[in-house]
């Protein structure tokens, strides 16, 4: 609830829009740049495996491994694929953590931009 208080009551001007992607340059503050997120599977592979669109995220490689494991271990699709399932779940968790980090980064950059704007305004008044 803290983020809701922040977004609607205490700091509505610096609250990121959670429905939209980040607005700042993703490389701000990273001197050497950031690692890019990639997937190993190609579009053709995903189409061949008939992966639904909501599963075609950055964890789709783990999902493909999990499906392959289920196929190879049939009918022990649960007991034979604990590790693959855990890897896929862990990837989903880390994906959400990354989204929360992006939100926090956006929020701090908005606050920074506001600080800089306020500083510039006081300097202009002083001149």
């Amino acid at each position: 609830m803290g983020n809701v208080m922040y977004a609607y009551i205490t700091h509505p001007d610096t609250a990121p829009e959670f429905r939209e992607p980040p607005t700042f340059d993703p490389l701000v503050g990273f001197a050497n740049g950031r690692k890019e997120r990639t997937i190993q599977a190609s579009r053709e592979e995903l189409d061949k495996a008939n992966i639904p669109l909501d599963r075609r995220d950055y964890c789709v490689d783990f999902y493909l491994k999990f499906l392959r494991c289920r196929q190879q271990n049939f009918p022990r699709v649960v007991s034979g694929c604990h590790h693959e399932k855990h890897d896929y779940d862990q990837c989903g968790y880390e994906d959400f953590v990354l989204r929360m980090k992006e939100y926090e980064r956006e929020k701090r950059l908005m606050e920074r931009a506001k600080r800089i704007a306020a500083k510039n305004a006081t300097e202009e008044l002083g001149d």
């Binding site: 977004a7 959670f18 429905r19 992607p21 993703p26 950031r34 690692k35 997120r37």
Partner: protein, 190 residues
């Protein structure tokens, strides 16, 4: 063949009985619904007295529904008293229905039984009060709902990222409209 012979024998055996009574004098005919239908609206005092006698009522107790096309003929207009308003300690002939033998039934007896609706109930609060209270509660909830519609609760997270230019082609986009979308982790490049 044996069955046919049996049927013939049975009809022969029944023939004297059928000749004497006939099919039309069975119990069905004397208890058919037309016998329970009320008579025509009583116009004269004699007709009223005859109708009251027919329904087992005294003439001064006998009242009748208006003959406006929606009435019940000479069926008596009884007090609209449901089972709940009848004395539970009286020695009724039929205690389950709080009813005596031969007692005329109300025209709407099926909806004012104790298992249905208490027509004489005196509610603690008036029906207007109940209606307005319900409306106030639901209205308050609806008002809160509509006032807070622009302020959804959300988790502090950005929208989910998808590979392949946010699934541009998969979501029905044209290849010439594709914009390269790059997503990054928080690990710096060495």
């Amino acid at each position: 063949m044996a069955t046919l012979r049996g049927a013939v024998a049975l009809s022969k055996a029944l023939r004297p009985f059928m000749r004497k009574h006939g099919l039309s004098t069975t119990a069905v005919l004397t208890n058919w619904n037309k016998d329970w239908k009320p008579g025509p609206f009583p116009q004269t005092a004699e007709e009223r007295a005859a109708a009251a006698k027919r329904y087992g009522l005294r003439v001064e107790d006998y009242d009748v529904y208006d003959n406006d096309g929606m009435g019940y003929g000479d069926y008596p207009k009884l007090p609209f008293a449901s089972g709940d308003s009848r004395d539970p300690y009286e020695d009724w002939d039929i205690p389950e229905l709080k009813r005596n033998f031969g007692e005329p039934l109300h025209a709407l007896a099926d909806i004012i039984g104790e298992d249905r609706w208490d027509a004489n109930a005196k509610p603690r609060y008036s029906y207007l009060n109940m209606f307005l209270t319900l409306g106030a509660v639901l209205g308050t909830l609806a008002t809160i709902y509509y006032l807070t519609l622009p302020y959804p609760l959300f988790l502090p997270a950005m929208p989910k990222q998808y590979p392949l230019n946010n699934l541009h082609l998969e979501r029905g986009g044209q290849p010439e409209d594709a914009v390269a979308v790059k997503h990054y982790t928080f690990e710096p490049v060495d």
